[in-house]
Amino acid sequence: MHIPDGFIDLDVAAIFYVLTLAVLGYSLYKVRKEDVNLSLLGIVAAGIFAAQMLNWPIPGGTSAHLVAGALAGILLGPYAGSLAMASVLTIQCLIFADGGVTALGANIWNMGVVDVFVGYYIYKVLKGKNEYLASFIGGWLGITMAAMFAGVEVGLSSSFKYGITTTVPVMGLWHGILGIVEGIITAAVVGYIHTTRPDIMERAGEVKVGKITWAVLGLLILLSPLFAYAAEAVGYSEPLENVAEMLGAEEHTIYEGLLPDYTVPGMDPYIGTLISGIVGVGIVLLLGVGISRVHK
Amino acid sequence: MKTDVAIEAKDVEYIYPDGTVGISDVNLKILEKERIAITGANGSGKTTLLLLLSGLLKPHKGYVKVFGYEVNRKNTEQIRRSVGIVFQDPDDFLFNPTVREELLYTPAQLDMPYEEAIEVAEKYAKIFGIDKLLDKPPLRLSGGEKKKVALAAVMMLKPKILILDEPTANIDGKTRKRIVEMIEKFDGTLIIATHELDLIPKFANRVILLGMDRKMAVNGDLSILDDKKLLEEVGIV
């Protein structure tokens, strides 16, 4: 899910740099104020890096990697967690060329902010009911939301010609499926630590979960397809046409994407995306309940 | 209190968060320039005792005083400036990206001017034979090299009290000889935890023996090293 350089426009990149820096700045402030153990933070980040290198076999002969943003949030709390993920992603960019330099802000936003905060709050809200279910859904929804944001970023960019109504559903669906592995592993890790060293997780900064949290979470979920809708409404595709003209080609309808089937046919694309999203959430929720039964 | 007492421990007890006793009933006076070996079986609490004596852990019962300063938040800086400790596992101890930064880490915290710090660092790198490794990251060093870097990083600051946890564990003969040489040359208060009994006479004149009950069994001169029965009782041989 690491976006390379050249996929997103510089203005989109700049917006996500600003958003990311704001969140990281606040996280640093919180971490400083709460006197969080910096060594622990750095070494857990190294641990997450190591965990990401594992190649989980999945049916069909391929394999999947853990992103572990939600896990970082659950283990360290959202502020320290986002800093740990930012550290991992920066190193991946500057040593391994995984993810671009201009796209680093967006990449940290997706995997180090959205994944971490969504994962953490879902876990926090649901853990009273069931520890496994809470961490499974946290891990799954965190990564799926992160992927949808990646879809928003490339979709809004005119350099990347596929429109947002294609990129968001494609990324969301693909990672919604892969995210099940992420969810299962997150649940197994959290469950194991919860039974062996519960003190570790009690230390992760206590953040109160109130109505605001729910509102923000709900908003985030609604927001990703809304972006698409708004972009279409204000005709964000304009710069795209300029590019096309420059290339001597004419831009054609944006709905004719790679996989147009992901929206419900004959329906407004926003509502279509939303419906397919909700159906997806439903399926995964059911799966989650099933898996947490198996774990018990 | 007398000025020549380096470390004093009274009724010290430390219990880990999970409830296991780290060490208890420690009463100890270590004089300045004294050279002490702490020995005992695995799990007898050697490391815990070292951490307590160095002021890194605060005892749950009793107190530890370093040069008359009791271990607490207020005195932290005073104590840290006079005590140097090297951990058993250099991977826990060396956390900087390169050997050079490793040597410069503590001087930077002490606000030592850069030129002065680099001069001392390079001098000690030469003494320890690690001057060719300065730009390497610690993770690429061998076990012996890491031990030397850790020791150099602490000894270059000339601490009044030097505390070493198993300085000769897991290293080859040549490195071991060099490290023993360096330790012998040190002229401050020395506290070493080790279970290599043959090394003790080389740099200690007092032995503290920890029993399996995590209490001090013996606190005396080197003659206890010949007491086979006692050593067997505490599980060393």
């Binding site: 076999p57 350099s159 596929y162 | 990206p97 880490y105």
Partner: protein
């Protein structure tokens, strides 16, 4: 489980190759340039390469990158081995567009085909520049540069620690997995692998936390802060030449 372990080792070793090759840099032009100047210069070139769809402009930057690679004794083969996968990835993603909309020749939309080529070329140019930086700069020097760029010390310290402990933590993780595998007898399915692997990861993270606590203790013993020295900056011949080179490339990029 065997699958999980073997695949992970294979991938990690190629990853760490990258990690360790940083210690064995050849001598060359970029290697001599102060990292602060190098970071800024390469970033500017990178911005120039992806802020346009004009082939000749991007080519200007690509050509400059190749010249820099040559001056820095970077083998073209090495460079290729590090960019081909990204190239393929970018191309495969955008090429379907060449088969959509109006068809100029039988089945090909020529305009879109050109777009796909230029898009890929931009990505390749950017990745080449990034690789130039990576292949000539040890990460600890980048960290030092970050410090003088006024990036918060806490964050630079976290970066340093992460970098320092990645390899150690990965070997630890492998030890845990191999130990578990060595005592397994029955064949396992996917869900079992995920679950047992997840549990291994759980015990791994507990060790990670314990390691973190020990390092914190060491940090307390050695100064308990994150101050560090910043090397004084000097503008020598290499920095001068590099700046001129970047400005020249940029002028060319604007004029063309």
């Amino acid at each position: 489980m065997t699958d999980l372990i073997e695949k992970s080792i294979k991938e990690a070793s190629s990853y760490f190759q990258n990690f360790f090759s940083q210690e064995y840099f050849r001598e060359g032009f970029l290697q001599k340039v102060d990292v602060r100047i190098k970071l800024i210069g390469i970033f500017i070139l990178l911005l120039a390469s992806i802020s346009t769809f004009d082939f000749s402009k991007t080519f200007t930057i690509f050509f400059s990158a190749l010249v820099l690679a040559k001056l820095s004794n970077i083998r073209i083969k090495l460079l290729l081995s590090r960019i081909w996968l990204f190239t393929l990835f970018a191309f495969i993603i955008v090429i379907p567009r060449a088969f959509m909309g109006v068809k100029d020749f039988y089945f090909l939309n020529f305009g879109e085909f050109v777009y796909a080529i230029i898009f890929t070329f931009r990505v390749v140019t950017a990745i080449t520049l990034l690789q130039l930086l990576i292949l000539t700069t040890p990460f600890n020097q980048i960290l030092a540069a970050f410090k003088s760029f006024k990036i918060p010390q806490q964050f630079v310290f976290i970066l340093g620690l992460t970098y320092r402990y990645i390899h150690l933590m990965f070997s630890e993780l492998l030890r845990i997995l191999v130990a578990r595998e060595s005592r397994r007898i029955k064949k396992t399915g996917f869900v079992e692998v995920w679950r047992f692997g997840g549990k291994s990861l759980g015990s791994f993270f507990i060790r990670t936390f314990e390691k973190g606590e020990k390092v914190q203790l060491a940090m307390n013993a050695r100064g308990n802060d994150i101050k560090s020295y910043i090397k004084p900056f000097s503008f020598t011949q290499s920095e001068m030449l590099f700046t001129i080179f970047v400005l020249f490339a940029l002028t060319w990029w604007i004029m063309i």
